[in-house]
């Protein structure tokens, strides 16, 4: 991976907007690794990967996103787009970039931070005394060894003991949704692995896995954290997780719901937050 400079665009995708703290922590980690970060995501920067049934619309939206990143590269010197989402990364690498002229390179956040680990390591000064099972998938290895990258980063957190969980199919949990019982099987096998290794924490790598597993936080005395939460803990930074708390029965404060539109909250958000747990 060769970076074009220290000014980057952090492309966090669409579904990461469920996890605002993880976006902010990612930006903070990139900044502490020495990068000037401009964050971008949501529908205006959609990759198109979830709309295979509308290929023309998806292609148009993908072209618009590439054009915006080209503007950032040409006008603002942001010649690297840093991805979070494996779907976005694969779609950019396999379809968007080959199909559109690009003025930027693409790198995954775990590549950039792993390359900067000697820069980050001195900041990891707070012991995180956890036995952590890493929730893994095999899929994204076609593009980069993300499991190894995250394990390498977590190995620099003082006090943290890391255990490799079973490697599930797909590139993240959402990829298993179309296969009956596969999603529940991944949750069950991860949880069984955590118990077998006497772990007190399950660590997710991607947002869709975090979305699935967060509601299990506390079950069998096992907490659920994302890798950016654990790195932040090692830096002594508060790493809250609103989505996890909402899935466990909490709710956003009233002012936030009113700001977001109470009717839409009831229609679109509450059903997701109140859906059954992935394990009994």
């Amino acid at each position: 991976m060769a970076l074009g400079g220290s000014r980057v665009t952090f492309w966090f995708g669409c579904n990461m907007l469920r996890h605002a703290e993880m976006i902010r922590l990612s930006i903070m980690l990139l900044e502490r690794a020495g990068y000037d970060v401009n964050a971008a995501g949501g529908p205006a920067y959609y990759c198109g990967t979830a709309h295979d049934h509308q290929p023309r619309a998806a292609s148009n939206m993908a072209a618009r996103t590439v054009a915006r990143f080209n503007e950032g590269a040409e006008n603002d010197g942001r010649s690297t787009v840093v991805t979070w989402c494996p779907s976005c990364h694969m779609h950019m690498s396999d379809i968007m970039a080959p199909g559109n002229a690009t003025s930027f390179g693409v790198a995954h956040i775990t590549e950039i931070l792993a390359d900067a680990v000697d820069h980050l390591a001195p900041l990891l000064s707070v012991p995180v005394k956890r036995r952590v099972l890493l929730h893994r998938h095999v899929g994204f290895a076609t593009h980069l060894p993300v499991n190894d990258r995250v394990a390498g980063l977590l190995s620099r957190v003082p006090g943290l003991e890391l255990f490799e969980g079973p490697a599930h199919p797909g590139h993240m949990c959402s990829a298993l949704a179309a296969v009956p019982r596969a999603l529940a099987g991944a949750a069950r096998d991860t949880w069984s692995g955590a118990i077998a290794y006497n772990c007190d924490t399950v660590c997710t790598i991607f947002h869709s896995c975090h979305r699935e597993l967060a509601a299990l936080d506390g079950k069998d005395g096992i907490r659920v954290r994302n890798w950016v939460h654990l790195i932040a803990e090692g830096m002594g930074i508060d790493a809250s997780d609103a989505y996890r708390d909402w899935r466990k029965g909490g709710a956003p404060d009233v002012a936030a719901i009113e700001r977001a539109d109470q009717r839409r909250y009831g229609e679109l958000i509450e059903p997701e937050l109140r859906r059954p747990l992935p394990l009994p």
Binding site: A20, A40, H53, G139, G170, P252, I269
Partner: protein
């Protein structure tokens, strides 16, 4: 329009989870063929051309994401990031 594929092929294509386990063993890889990408193209054909896979549009996909954003992001973050 493509030709309809055998039922087994459509089931296989429809169940693809993007594990990528097909990429390295593909005998045509050296010639530049990406088997996982080929399966994805086949899935698009089955959805849109031969209509052998059911389309499951989710009109709430973007609205839900926008509500999550407004629940959590500051005005400044909304303006700068989205």
């Amino acid at each position: 329009m493509g030709e309809p594929a055998p039922v087994e092929t459509v089931a296989w294509v429809g169940a693809c989870a993007k594990s990528g386990q097909c990429v390295a063993p593909c005998p045509e890889r050296a010639a530049g063929l990406d088997a996982m990408l080929l399966v994805r193209i086949a899935k698009q054909r089955a959805l849109n051309d031969t209509c052998q896979l059911p389309v499951k549009p989710d009109p709430t996909y973007f609205p839900r994401i926008k509500v999550f954003a407004r629940l959590q992001l500051s005005d400044e973050e909304l303006a700068e990031w989205l």
